[in-house]
């Protein structure tokens, strides 16, 4: 599903974020991406979401070489990928419903279809009763769940999460992780970047460890 072939990423500042990364994630797999902050986890996810471009090498997602995705097709590619940020990045001036609806609105879905799907996504993360409130009035854990609902509402094939439990205590983290597991059960490929060792220990999923922009261990 996702393949990296000798990928290098150097930022304009000259910082080498990724050095010679080669890895493969199968369709429907659940993978943890571990490493200290600055190890290149976020960059790797951003390359898959096509919000960064490789400096060298190839990233192939679902048989598609990302370097060959034409500029105009990038938005359509991104709709296949759900992205969850550590700081959740909800829009504070819109309701929970509108935040979750964004990927569908952007894609031009019918209002009735949007409503149905948003409610289904909110139901899934247990926040159906909060659809009208502002994200500001929610707890951090709830905000993160809204972020997840937004990421899955478009039924993406791939779910990427960058430190999704970074700000949460272990009970809430586990809850979030369980949610990811449920999406994985219905065939979604899940890739979670985290440095939360405890979290990784609890679940028996494959791990890819990064350090200083290189793959240290797979397994």
């Amino acid at each position: 599903m996702i393949r990296f072939d000798s990928v290098y990423k150097t930022y304009d500042s000259g910082q080498d974020a990724l050095k010679n990364i080669s890895l493969e994630v199968d369709h429907g797999e659940f993978v943890f991406l571990t490493g200290h902050s600055g190890a290149g986890k976020s960059t790797l996810l951003r390359l898959i979401a096509l919000s960064e471009q490789v400096s060298r090498g190839q990233v192939i997602v679902d048989g598609q070489n990302l370097e060959r995705v034409p500029r105009r097709q990038v938005p359509y590619y991104r709709r296949k990928v759900g992205f969850i940020f550590q700081e959740h990045r909800l829009l504070p001036d819109r309701s929970v419903f509108d935040n979750v609806a964004l990927p569908l609105v952007v894609a031009g879905h019918r209002t009735s279809e949007t409503q149905k799907r948003v409610r289904a996504a909110l139901d899934k993360v247990g926040l159906l009763n909060k659809e009208k409130v502002s994200p500001r009035s929610l707890s951090i854990g709830e905000q993160q769940r809204v972020g997840i609902a937004r990421a899955v509402v478009n039924r993406p094939q791939i779910l990427l999460a960058d430190e999704p439990t970074g700000n949460l205590d272990s009970a809430l983290s586990l809850e979030i992780l369980k949610l990811f597991g449920q999406f994985n059960d219905i065939g979604v490929t899940v890739l979670i970047a985290t440095h939360d060792i405890e979290l990784i220990r609890r679940e028996r999923h494959r791990r890819i460890a990064l350090a200083a922009g290189q793959v240290m261990a797979i397994g």
Binding site: A49, L50, S51, E52, Q53, V69, P70, R71, R72, V74, P75, Y76, Y77, R78, R79, F83, R89, L91, L102, P103, L104, V105, V106, A107, G108, H109, R110, T111, E113, R150, N154
Partner: protein, 323 residues
């Protein structure tokens, strides 16, 4: 079963023309909401656009009125036809009649041979000499007042040609030098209105561009999240384009209001002035054509400004694709 699935797929397929309309409707709604939340900044921008556009529009209306005012205050242009000496009274009469039916002529007056001779005798002190002549040597003369508008552009030349082609006309004379000068000044004013229009039009593009740029800065986060959720550039651009066009349009309305008030303010004194010249001249207001033009131009300039601002922003944030 397969059929229902295909049908369902088609029904939820988002990229139809209906989806396009829906997105536009959402954009308009979003634009209005944004304008409402930025009321003071937008109002300021609209006023600046209005004052900027008012200048060329005012100059244009001034130019439209200029000719009228000068002609009302000055004398109407005249043309004089001297007929051949052999022309009979009946022939002269028929020429006068045909001239009177010409809509371009305001007043046609004929000076017959005898009147002309008497007039000449009176003004020239040659009465005695003239008395010795066996025959009246003066031709019929026809004097016409012509509307000044008949001398605009190439119309004057055509009029002159038409008059020269009338049979029995020996010579035509126009007192049109001053009207030509007037026409030249009027053309100059029109050109100036156009030049200022272009310069200030660019100004309007920059003003809206800047307002939109500030608006974009305030919504960076939203745009970034939307783009990560798969928003196309067109989707991001749309509300800003609406906003730019709307600001330009409102600015154009302000410009029209300013110029219309100026005309209203001037119409009283103008009537007093023209009344002193025993004439009743009304100031020409902004024509429907000018009105529609200025509104369209305002909206278009706002749109262009917004387009430039959003495109610059999208290029700047586009880290992904250089191809």
């Amino acid at each position: 079963m397969a059929n229902t699935q295909r049908l369902a797929a088609r029904r939820s397929k988002p990229n139809s023309s209906r989806a396009w309309i829906r997105q536009h409707r959402d954009s308009v709604r979003e634009t209005l909401a944004n304008l409402r939340s930025n009321r003071s900044a937008v109002a300021l921008s609209v006023l600046v656009i209005g004052f900027t556009l008012a200048f060329p529009l005012g100059l244009h209306v001034l130019q439209q009125n200029f000719l009228n005012v000068v002609i009302t205050l000055g004398s109407q242009p005249h043309a004089t036809l001297f007929l051949e000496g052999t022309t009979s009274e009946a022939q002269a009469e028929s020429i006068v009649n045909s001239l009177r039916s010409d809509p371009r002529m305001d007043a046609v007056r004929v000076i017959d041979k005898d009147t002309a001779l008497a007039e000449f005798a009176r003004t020239s002190n040659l009465g005695e000499v003239l008395d010795t002549l066996a025959e009246n040597p003066l031709p019929y003369t026809i004097v016409m007042a012509i509307d000044a508008s008949e001398f605009e552009g190439t119309k004057g030349q055509r009029l002159q040609n038409d008059l020269n082609q009338i049979p029995n006309v020996a010579h035509t004379q126009f007192d049109v030098t001053w009207i030509r000068r007037l026409d030249a000044v009027s053309n100059l004013a029109a050109r100036a209105a156009l030049a200022f229009g272009v310069i200030l039009g660019i100004g309007v593009v920059l003003i809206t561009g800047n307002t939109i740029r500030v608006g974009i800065q305030g919504r960076r986060d939203e745009i970034e999240v939307a783009k990560l959720c798969g928003a196309t550039d067109a989707y991001v651009r749309r509300p800003f384009l609406y906003s730019g066009a709307l600001q330009g349009l409102l600015g154009a309305f302000v410009a029209v209001a300013l110029v219309a008030s100026a005309i209203a303010l001037l119409s009283g004194p103008t009537e007093t002035l023209t009344a002193l010249y025993s004439s009743n001249m009304q100031l020409v207001n902004i024509s429907t054509f000018s009105l529609i033009s200025v509104l369209c131009v305002g909206a278009a300039l706002g749109l262009i400004g917004a387009w430039i601002a959003v495109s610059a922003y999208l290029r700047q944030v586009d880290v992904t694709r250089s191809v």
